[in-house]
Amino acid sequence: MTWRDNLRIAIAGATSNKLRSMLTILGVLIGVGAVIILVAVGTGSSAQVQANIDRLGTNTLTVFSTGRFGGRSTTGTQSSFATMTVGDVQQIERQPYVQSVSPVSSTSVTAAYNGASDSSATVTGSTPSYLSASSYSLEAGSSFTSSQVTNRERVAVIGQTVVSDLFGTSNPIGRTIQLGSASFEVVGVLATKGSTGIQDQDNVVIAPYTAVQDELTGESSSFSELLIQGKSSSTLNTVESEVETILAAANNTTVANLPFSVLNEASLLSTAESTSSTFTVLLAAVAGISLLVGGIGVMNIMLVTVTERTREIGIRKAIGARKSVILAQFLYEAVFLSLIGGLAGVAIGVVGSQFRIDGVQPVIAPYSIVLALGVSIAVGVFFGFYPANRAASLRPIDALRYE
């Protein structure tokens, strides 16, 4: 008795009652298909969250002023708001887990060049470290330098939206654009970054904060916002509390009363990430249950089959079939049913995952295919074993007498 003999007998058995076998296969098919599609939906939504994380840049903290503060007076138009100083920036920069601190002075102005204009460009004044902290990369030209910041030079790096609004297809490097009433020389062009949904991250102009404060915001060496890049996302919480302590001390207040808010992107995003992975696990569990139900269907049908074929089992034993051969015959049949169901389920799952489901583009996880197929075979073996063993253990004389 070779495996091919067993397979032939199993197929003959499974096809002897086609409707019943089809329904059994359908149970497994739905289970396997559900596992693949639902895991793909879960993976797809995780991938979306991950894409957002990548775009926003991880391991950064944003510190911004949240309100009036009476303790320390500042000059300029924003005197009523609490601000941070160059001294604060330097102190934070000395902390061991801090990679860089970029002060931010930003405003919205109309950018113009040679008659063309872009009315809503965001001008961000900062230091060169701002680019990497915000995950911007340069497509052409170069960034402005630290010495250009110190020398208050009016140079700028511009985003793709600004490029296309002002220059169309011509090369902007070395040209001078108007930001409000001031002239800035373009030294670099940023690679496209896309939209966060609320904000076009390509409609930006980034320039030394000194020049921006001089020409546009009127602040002097005080900032309402800082972008802090940590050395790793795991130490970001430490950095967060250090920053709070430093700012509280500098402003003679407590952390609880701090007029600044610290936005920890990593923790926000990791929450989003864990939510979406919980979602995936939940979907997989639901799908797993339907696969289990399919397996119980296989067992049910195999029990019926064994009962129906009791006499046949007796005949086979009388003409020399050993226990192991009968066991193999029914196990093969159970595995055959569940494997066909599994393969069809993979096909349905792969096809089903091509469609957008509730705004999520499913991403097929290869492991889910391997897992679903493996589980469907295991289901056949597991749920087929009891009926098969029951058949194999029948005494030939009892089986032959069965009516």
């Binding site: 005949i315 034993k317 003409i319 020399g320």
Partner: protein
């Protein structure tokens, strides 16, 4: 209930003299066999203390009224069932010492069964049915096919090879069953009322096949109700209430079966006489 501790009968009880004087092992040696069915409250003594020896090459008919224990005897002889008490040597092997797997092996190698109800595997062609015992015995595919075709030819059904059981008459199905029983070349054919469902001419076809098999040296043991059928055998054993009440020998073990076929018998007689 387990059988009594075996105290093997003297060796000579297992050996009988053949015509040429050489001691030969009987194919079946039963001593004090009993079978008790426990059904609910009542116990049924289906076979009571039967001792029986069957020589290799014999053709035995077991007769008896319904319920006299014929099938029970046959199932014990064929290792399908286990006696409640007694000793049984099949071809010299003490069957009580064998486990399930070993019994399956014995059935596969030494015995061919034919049942009253044909018992072919449904939805399986005649050829595949006949191949099956060879598959279980581990014979390779090529050889299997060849031997199955030969067995089917031997029962005269060459043109029905690829028919399903449901496409054949009772007589044809029974001949397929006979082919299946002989395909492994077993020493012994056991048949429980093989002609019970057949009309006279189909029954005679089957009996002629059995006679030929016996003439070729195979031991045949069959159960029947009918004296006509028993007349094909060399020895007739009658059971009543689980006991042997008559053991009649019609012709010697070494003779050709009594009704091998008229012409053939004449020719044989002519050639020996």
């Amino acid at each position: 209930m387990s059988p009594a501790t075996p105290t093997a009968p003297a060796e000579r009880t297992l050996r009988t003299a053949t015509t040429n004087g050489r001691a030969e092992r009987p194919i079946i040696a039963m001593r004090h066999i009993s079978k008790i069915y426990a059904t609910g409250e009542a116990e049924v003594h289906a076979v009571r203390d039967v001792s029986l020896t069957i020589e290799r090459g014999d053709f035995v008919a077991i007769m008896g009224a319904s319920g006299s224990g014929k099938s029970t005897m046959m199932n014990i002889v064929g290792c399908l069932d286990i006696p409640t008490q007694g000793w049984y040597w099949l071809d010299g092997v003490d069957v009580r010492l064998l486990d399930e797997e070993a019994l399956a092996e014995v059935r596969s190698r030494k015995i061919g069964f034919v049942f009253q109800a044909y018992n072919l595997i449904p939805r399986t062609t005649a050829l595949a049915n006949v191949e099956l015992p060879l598959a279980y015995a581990g014979v390779r595919r090529q050889e299997r096919r060849q031997r199955a075709i030969e067995a089917i030819e031997a029962v005269g059904l060459s043109e029905r090879m690829s028919h399903l059981p449901s496409e054949m008459s009772g007589g044809q199905q029974q001949r397929v069953a006979v082919a299946r029983a002989i395909v492994t070349n077993p020493a012994m054919i056991l048949a429980d009322e093989p002609t019970g469902n057949l009309d006279t001419s189909a029954a005679e076809d089957v009996m002629r096949i059995f006679s030929r098999l016996n003439a070729d040296g195979r031991t045949v043991v069959l159960i029947t109700h009918e004296a006509d059928i028993a007349a094909f055998a060399k020895r007739v054993i009658r059971l009543r209430d689980g006991q042997i009440v008559e053991d009649y020998r019609a012709s010697a073990v070494t003779d050709l079966p009594p009704r091998l076929g008229v012409e053939r018998t004449i020719r044989t007689v002519g050639s020996t006489g």
